[in-house]
């Protein structure tokens, strides 16, 4: 039976090893492939503590293995009565002092990094974005600029972007694993954290605090582009004309329908504060629909007609509107052509 156990352990170790070697999860999602300041610091700390802890585990397992091999009850010695040792002071001191030393080794970088990641001294000279969490979408307001958008957060690479976060309803938690650790959003207090992307890319973000029915579907993107591209994006977004007429006739009808059905009551186009539903200014540039679905015309039609089927419990499910499939198609045409900027998620991935 003991051989069994050893084999199992070997299997376990081997399994985890292949896992670590074969991949650390999806690029731009996993915390094990950090692409930003916070995530890199966290991984350093994870590695330090993991190394110490593996050492501890090995020590325990060595003693454990020796005990199980040497001190099993032996045939013919059933009546053997072992010496009733009371304890050993020296040993007790050893396994009190050595762990304390090991913990100090972990504690020092813990404190350093914890303070470093909470450093807000540069917030005044940096880009500040107010983040609002909502069931089940995210709203971003670029402070000092006339830019508000939802679901996709554009940031320039190589600099700290400060996020001032609050929720409009229940608790949420802002987490972009490849860029940084997470921070909760509360209704009564603003929490601040910074993110910094070192490479261009489209990073997956998730809500990490249980927030209701579609908690698992509250994905968003952080799009890190070069500082020049970011400048241009800001320029483009500032000059959006919310009433611009679309080119195609269908889209024009869609725009009409969008207003007639008071979609505009919940969804703003152009810079406008967080409303009941996400801001749609650059909807056409997004890569996912509602954070989780395919970003194409058919899915959008399905969403407009039955949002509940894609994101249970979202507020659009209760909205009072009636559109035919054809009308929904026209609205979709209108929305999909809302592409105010040349800087899109593609800009973050296509470079080089």
């Amino acid at each position: 039976m003991k051989g069994w156990m050893a084999k199992f352990r070997a299997l376990l170790l081997f399994g985890s090893l292949t896992l670590v070697l074969s991949g650390c999860g999806k690029e731009n999602l996993s915390a094990l492939t950090p692409k930003g300041y916070g995530a890199k610091s966290a991984l350093d700390l994870i590695n330090i503590s993991l190394a110490v802890m593996i050492f501890v585990f090995i020590v325990v397992m060595v003693i454990y293995a020796i005990v199980l091999v040497r001190f099993r009850k032996k045939k013919g010695q059933e009546d053997f009565i072992p010496q009733q040792t009371e304890g050993n002071k020296a040993l007790e001191v050893i396994w009190t002092v050595i762990p304390i030393i090991l913990l100090v080794i972990i504690a020092i970088p813990t404190i350093t990094i914890t303070f470093d990641l909470a450093d807000e001294s540069a917030a005044g000279d940096s880009i500040n974005v107010s983040v609002t969490g909502n069931q089940f979408w995210w709203h971003f307001n670029y402070e000092g600029e006339e830019i508000q958008t939802s679901q996709d957060l554009y940031i320039p690479t190589g600099e700290k972007v400060y996020l001032n976060m609050k929720t409009s309803d229940v608790l949420h938690s802002f987490w972009v694993p490849a860029l940084s650790g997470k921070m909760d959003l509360h209704p009564e207090n603003e929490n601040t954290m910074f993110i910094q992307a070192d490479e261009e890319g489209v990073y997956d973000g998730k809500c990490a605090e249980f927030c209701g029915t579609s908690h698992s579907l509250m994905d968003f993107k952080v799009i890190a582009v070069s500082p020049e591209e970011y400048e241009q994006w800001v320029e483009d977004m500032k000059n959006v004309d919310p009433e611009a007429q679309p080119e195609s006739a269908d889209a024009q009808e869609g725009q009409q329908l969008f207003q007639e059905n008071s979609c505009i009551g919940c969804h703003a186009i152009g810079s406008s504060p967080a409303a009941t539903g996400p801001n749609l200014t650059n909807f056409g540039d997004r890569t996912t629909l509602a954070g989780v679905a395919e970003h194409d015309r058919d899915t959008l039609i399905e969403w407009i007609q039955n949002p509940e089927s894609i994101k249970p419990g979202n507020r659009m499910s209760d909205a009072n509107y009636e559109v035919s499939e054809e009308e929904a198609g026209k609205i979709a045409d209108y929305l999909l052509q809302l592409q105010p900027s040349d800087i899109t998620p593609e800009s973050a991935t296509s470079n080089e």
Binding site: L19, G23, G25, K26, L29, S30, A31, L32, A39, A42, L45, I46, L50, V52, M53, V56, F57, V60, M61, I63, Y64, I66, V67, F71, R72, F80, P82, T85, E86, G87, L91, E92, P99, L103, A107, T110, I111, T114, A118, D169, V170, L171, S173, A178, G181, K182, M183, H186, P187, E188, N189, N191, K206, F210, S214, H215, S216, L217, P312, G313
Partner: protein
Amino acid sequence: MSTATAQKRGFGAAIWDYLTTVDHKKIAHLYLVSGGLFFLIGGLEALLIRIQLIKPSNDFVSAGFYNELLTMHGTTMIFLAAMPLIFALLNAVVPLQIGARDVAFPFLNSLGFWLFLFGGIILNCGWFLGGAPDAGWTAYAPLSAVSPGHGVDFYVLGLQISGAGTLIGGINFLVTIINMRAPGMTYMRMPLFTWTAFVTSSLILFAFPALTVGLFLLMFDRLFGSGFFNASMGGNSVIWEHLFWIFGHPEVYILILPAFGVFSDVLSTFSKKRLFGYTAMVFATTLIGFLGFMVWAHHMFTTGLGPAANSIFAIATMAIAVPTGIKIFNWLFTLWGGSITINSAMLWALAFIPTFTIGGTTGVMLAAAAADYQYHDTYFVVAHFHYVIVGGVVFGLFCGIHYWWPKMFGKILNETLGKITFWTFFLGFHLTFFIQHFLGLMGMPRRYWTYLPNQELDTGNLISTIGAFLMAIGTIVFIINVIYTSVKGHKVSGDPWDGRTLEWSIPSPPPHYNFKQTPLVRGLDPLWIEKMEGRKGITPAEPLDDIHMPNPSILPFIMSLGLFIAGFGFIYQVDNLAFLWVVILGMGITLGAMFVRSIKDDLGHHIHKEDLEEGADQ
């Protein structure tokens, strides 16, 4: 009188016997059966959760139902399975280990059980009455305050009532251990299981009131329109987080310490050695209990308390690793030089050491605040707390149940079935949870109803689900074992394991007065001492005399029933004020029963010397 009532009785009489019993051994049976039942329900919920997560974008269950499942799985396992099963062991063993004939408050002991059971029933009523609680077992406000329907109301009232039961149980064991020890049983001669029971009880006493208050605030917000967690009225959601974790963190030590106690007794018995470093173990237990109150905010590293608070709580949390490490090494050195017998009970204890070491080491990793920003609320945390709660508490319960089963029921659980249970459960457990560490770091937050394809989370989740089924098989084999043993098992002597402590010095199952004569304790491991000196039993501390025993009573059941009824009144008065009458009715029943208890003298009864002597001849 004992011989007369022990004759064959009807089924109804047996039920009545259990409804009115104040005997700690029977209350242990009640806790065992109801805790076991809730464990199965919680396990079923876990299986449904794992089936839903077997593949990406699955829709085996709906998102809303999934949230109810995850909430009820956590709540059930902690409050309705782990807690009562621990109380089952405490009731079955602690009075015997200290040489007492009963607990300090037999009546309250029974009340504690019935409160727990009725609370558990209220909690589960949601399933049939329009939706179970769905705000997570932590019930963070404001989600829990605004969650529609009555689901969370069932959570609030159910936990409030069962929590009162737990508090009563805690006080009972504190006083029992302090006041009821046999002559010679000094504090530093108490078996480690009794020591952990003592520390756990004091944690219950000081931790549960915080939950009580939290639940009251949530109840007032939901049912009476107060604004504790309502930001638009100036409320503050962080208050709930603090209150919940001031209770919640000690709670995990409340669960794990008795398991530590079980392992200490079992490892010592089956390696035929005195526990290594007994004094250090006692010291470590108390220190863990003490530090357990200083670390609650490590559950709130991402709440935004600031780097100073986070660092302080990080260091305090790491400090707990020191006494825990002391324990691990003392267990290893208890085995060292011993003569180790490996049976079902011992397998669980041996498997616990590496498993809990993994859980403990990830615990230290989680304590590193800045790294926790990544781990927090992901499957890494899920993996960690299952490693300590399943790998520690559930292993400990299985271990303790296999070890003390002969003491409780007079029969040894079947060894072959016991080993099958162990291996399937153990393998299944590691298969389920080891991979979850990586899932968390790869970007899978906890409490996710589903995950998208192409995020490289598929394989890990599949493996995890397979493991869960193995655990289920192990549990089913255990139930088969219980049935098989009760039908086919052989009667065993009072001391089947060559035990060391007092409970093994009396018959199995023990007579309802436990000790015919109060034992005289002459050192740690009193029975072992007597055996080594060639005696068969323990030296009595008193001549044979009449024994005073408490009377059975139905009042605890009625008091709990009253609160159960009142609970429904509170929940439904929101819809219809007429339900306030139900509140009044329920509270009336409870207060009435308390009044009866207060004015009716209950002096107990005596078992006469002659009957005791007669019993010895049989």
